[in-house]
Amino acid sequence: MHTLTALVAALPAALPLETIEPIASAPVRGGIYAVAPLLVGLPLASAALLLLLGRRADRWGHWLGVLASAGAFVVGLATFVALLGRPADDRVLDVHLGRWIDAGAFHLDAGIRLDPLSLTFVLLVTFVGTLIHVYSVAYMEHDADRRRFFAYLNLFVAAMLVLVLANSYLLLFVGWEGVGLASYLLIGFWNHNLPYAVAAKKAFVANRIGDIGLLVALGLMFATFGGVDFQTVLTADLSGVSEGTMTAIGLMLLLAACGKSAQFPLQSWLGDAMAGPTPVSALIHAATMVTAGVYLIVRSNVLFDAAPTAQLVVVVVGAITLLFGAIVGCAKDDIKKALAASTMSQIGYMVLAAGLGPVGYAFAIFHLVTHGFFKAGMFLGAGSVMHGMDDQVDMRRFGGLGRYMKVTYFTFMAGWLAILGIPPFAGYWSKDKIIEAAFVPQDGQLWRAWVFGLVTLIGAGITAFYMSRLFFMTFEGERRWSSRRDGGDQHPHEAPALMTWPMIVLAVGSVGLGALLSVGGWFTHWLEPVTGHAEHGEPVLPVWLIVTLTLVLVLAGGVLAWRRYAVSTVPVAPPIGTALTRAARVDLYQDQVNDALLVEPGQHLTRSLVFVDGAVVDGGAHGLGKTTVGLGALLRRLQTGFVRSYAGGMLAGLVVLLVVLLVTQS
């Protein structure tokens, strides 16, 4: 401990060399940390109030929602500042809330985990969340159910904060289900529209599959470590635990992450989830909830470090998803679905980074934060475009919009450049690190460095192509919509200030946040109490070459998109396209695969089970019921009401008992 303290004392002088291992939590009470429960309490109370008050709160309810979210941000900021004031090796705190479960040998305290990782999420969720709340005030202005919408948004914020602040996997699971519920409610917010309701259900079902993974992982953890709180699980002595068990836990956690973060093979719901109002897509299905899987993996870093096989699977899943999303994104004409595919792909980057082990954890979270800003910004931009174009989402009907909505144009451009990874925009600082890390050999296995390095590199190129395609089809080129002057019905216009200001703030983040957080490797060091310190291994290629190659590919992708979608004419009707394009348009047939592999057999199974249930189980039960009632009617006849027959019955019974006894005795 003394050496550690000494090291920390020398921190400012030797910043890059200082190391902090993941540290055990210290219980705290009182002071600024006592208000931490308000982080969850404020939005939760607001959600409850808005739902309970009903129509009475229609006039001011949305502002209450904004206030609750902003309040949570202020509390989060205060806690963050307080945590900054502590020495780096004392930044993992547990705020004890009370005994939650006390059953036999199983005890669990409910508590709040305050550490760099959870606070990073708190700030991201509450800051971006508040901006999106403000945006929604204007975006949902004409919706009769705006109050309910804000109630759900607050519910989501509360659940997400439970998820990231939980000090045990079980409490995390509560938040996990809570965000799933909020997501379901918000995707199906316009559930009078049947496809939207179906989309909500699809998201819910896909998430359930992942949830099973988390449940099984909870069970395995309890069986292995005797507890499910972070303190027990993450500081457990792993020497006595077989690698098989750790791999099983890791894979189950990965399954959970796949469901929540739309990773292969549970990715199919994210595209359909765009049925929800656009602010929802921005907050839940881009910036925060879908990144919960990454949070889960990084939070469980100790477990994954002990399960190399599971880590490899994580990387593979990330790699597949990032290419999958990128390919699908190239063919989508629906602006929100293209953005959704891009989200999937970017989370693939994060998952891949998280699977790389200590080298990647911090970068995964770093990219998550920057992505939260620029992707939310772009979704809000897309919402602004839809606002100005009467809810049109087909990019083939856009074109040249940059002239009509300047603010949207420039803020979207900031996000676009950020996701491309053009220096000095935010994405460059985070994504480039992931690509570099992917080129570092793991466990001395060179093939992994080459395969995953190249995948991320190619992914960056494709990303540049489809994001530029999206940007050019929407904002550049000739206009493919018809204005009112031409007898059409569209007149693109800039959104009101309540919508543009959040976009501007997010655009500022997209521009500067990456560079800001990278100063002196600040963000990586900030996370070290959780992720531990890792010596950066040498990539198989020189760093300068990787950076150059990335930029070249990105530029190539951008230029290709420029030639095809800005300079040349974009047909209004989608061309037939190559086989790959057609496949990508239908999400590489993932729904068909799911139908063939799961839905069809499942339906056959349920149909046959229903038949068996009706014929055998119900038949048996009814038969048994009838037999029993018949027997009862028969036995009731013995109840004649005559004392003599009662006494006779007693005597006969007694004799039977005696005979039984004497027979068994002899």
Partner: protein, 573 residues
């Protein structure tokens, strides 16, 4: 031969002494207290006696927990942990039952005949009613019964066992015959109970004689010692043991000695049913536990087959016959039989867990039983006046079809009743679940898994008739007064339309004159000249509240009670 007076440890027998002395005082009060204040005085004395006895048990508790208890009066009574637990349970539940018995509800009438000795339908009865006479002897009778019950589980001497049995039984026979309404049914039940009880007592006595013949002693400890030696007259021992058990099994209402249960539960005044369904069973199980665990430890394996047979038959018969009942009190009566079977499972387990589980189950079952019968006491028939308006409040509306729609009109009452039914059914978060769980797990632990299996299956089947009542209360439309019966009744109780009463009415027909009264009543029900109503009563409400709170508390947080039982409940050898 000189007679040495045994040393009496008054402190140890204080609970019994307080109650019995109060009972004697009560008899004197009948003679000397003016009629005006007699009832008030009797109720006060009864409450004071029961509370005092409970206090005495509480005072004995710490010392018995620490030193295991002691033999008193020359070894006739054993004041040990099990005795105290059973006594405490009986006292708590009899206080609650007394709240129901003493409550005259909003009708101003209690459940008892103004003059129990009058002939039903006679002028004298009418006179007694108009004069507003009251049968306040009831309270001393009740105290005598409780006194017998307190002695019953403590007896380590078979003669004292017999005396205690009679002391507790005779007042019960009397009280059963004291119903204000349906008096013939009540008196018939009383006589049946008395005759069959006498028969069972004879069996018990015969068994005691055989055991004395075998061992030369009446003390359980000495019989137990004698079973260790091989004498060649084991059949004497076996038959004697089975006969004694038969006497005890009669009191708990186990098959094949259960036949009196539904008739007596139905005929007795409902508050008395509440009292005896809980307290008699608890006391008798206390005695049975002591007889099996202390008297026959060497014999347990030989007698196991008898206990197994009885337990299985009891569970199955109780459950199956309850399915086809149409009268709420009979349903609860058969449910009591089924519960006897479940509790026997704990006895048969023959281990410490089984003992503790049985004791817990008795408390859980007793609370729900007193509560359920107390609710039944509140649900009454009301005649339809000549002008079609509301007429007089009559007796209990016991036919199931009369309970239809109760949940809509009286949600709280129906909710509490549902709680008791769920506890009977053993649904988690109620006391019944913990009780069933502890006896079944004890049975599995003790190697009696087939019993546990039958128990679980019976419980599952039993859920049907409990839930049927819940469905009836909440999801069935009540019948409209004046409308033909078929509408409400048949729909409500699919299995048993009201007209199909011959079997149930059989006991009545058997005794001539009764037939007229009861059939008339059935017809009245059939033509819907009565409606169902609910009366109020502070005492009943208090009792139901206590039972409901107990049922929930023992279901949600049973650990303190389980711990308390585990810390004290051992037998003196």
């Amino acid at each position: 031969m000189s007679f040495t007076a045994p040393h009496v440890d008054w402190a140890a027998i204080a609970p019994v002494a307080v109650v019995l002395v109060a009972a004697v005082v009560g008899v004197l009060l009948e003679a000397f207290v003016p009629a005006r204040v007699r009832r008030t005085t009797q109720v006060a004395v009864a409450f004071a006696a029961l509370a005092g006895a409970l206090l005495a048990v509480a005072l004995l508790w710490p010392s018995v927990r620490d030193d295991g208890g002691r033999d008193v009066i020359g070894g006739s009574l054993a004041v040990d942990g099990v005795t105290l637990v059973v006594q405490a349970t009986i006292l708590v539940l009899s206080i609650v039952a007394l709240l129901v018995i003493a409550d005259r509800t909003s009708t101003g009438l209690d459940a008892f005949a103004p003059s129990a000795a009058s002939i039903p339908g006679s002028d004298y009865e009418a006179l007694a009613r108009t004069k507003g006479l009251q049968q306040t002897e009831l309270y001393p009778l009740l105290l005598f019964a409780v006194g017998g019950m307190l002695v019953f589980p403590a007896t380590s001497d078979l003669l004292v066992l017999f005396v205690a049995l009679e002391v507790l039984s005779l007042p019960l026979y009397l009280m059963t015959g004291m119903a204000r309404r349906r008096r013939l049914l009540s008196q018939e039940a009383s006589l049946k109970y008395f005759l069959l009880g006498a028969f069972a007592s004879a069996l018990l006595l015969f068994g005691i004689a055989l055991l004395y013949g075998y061992s030369g002693s009446l003390k359980l400890s000495e019989i137990s010692a004698a079973t260790q030696q091989v004498t060649g007259t084991e059949s004497l021992l076996l038959v004697g043991a089975v006969l004694v058990m038969a006497g005890l099994l009669f009191k708990v209402g186990a098959v094949p000695f259960q036949a009196w249960t539904p008739d007596v539960y139905q005929g007795a005044p409902t508050p008395i049913t509440a009292f005896m369904s809980a307290c008699t069973k608890i006391a008798a199980f206390g005695a049975l536990l002591r007889f099996v665990y202390v008297g026959l430890p060497g014999m347990q394996w030989d007698l196991q087959v008898v206990l197994w047979t009885v337990a299985i038959a009891t569970m199955v018969v109780g459950t199956v016959v309850a399915l086809v009942q149409t009268d709420i009190k009979r349903v609860l009566g058969y449910s009591a039989v089924a519960h006897t079977g479940f509790i026997l499972t704990g006895v048969v387990a023959l281990n410490e867990q089984g003992l503790h589980g049985t004791l817990f189950y008795l408390l859980a079952y007793g609370a729900a039983s007193v509560g359920a019968f107390a609710v039944v006491w509140l649900v009454r028939e009301r005649s339809v006046g000549a002008d079609g308006g509301e007429g007089d409040v009559l007796g209990e509306a016991t036919h199931l079809s009369q309970w239809a729609g109760l949940g809509r009109r009286h949600p709280v009452l129906a909710g509490v009743f549902t709680l008791f039914l769920l506890s009977f059914a053993g649904i988690p978060l109620t006391a019944g679940f913990i009780g069933k769980f502890s006896v079944f797990s004890a049975a599995v632990e003790g190697g009696a898994w087939p019993l546990a299996l039958v128990g679980v299956l019976s419980s599952a089947a039993a859920v049907f008739f409990y839930v049927r009542i819940v469905v009836l209360m909440y999801f069935t439309e009540p019948a409209v007064p004046g409308a033909p019966e078929q509408d409400g009744g048949t729909a409500a109780v699919e299995q048993a339309p009201v007209e199909q009463a011959p079997v149930e009415a059989a006991p009545v027909e058997a005794s001539g004159a009764t037939a007229a009264t009861l059939t008339a009543e059935r017809t009245a029900t059939g033509e819907r000249t009565v409606t169902t109503t609910v009366v109020r009563g502070r005492g009943v409400v208090a009792a139901v509240t206590v039972c409901a709170v107990l049922t929930v508390l023992l279901g949600v947080a049973p650990q303190p009670v389980l711990d308390a039982i585990a810390s004290i409940a051992t037998f003196l050898p």
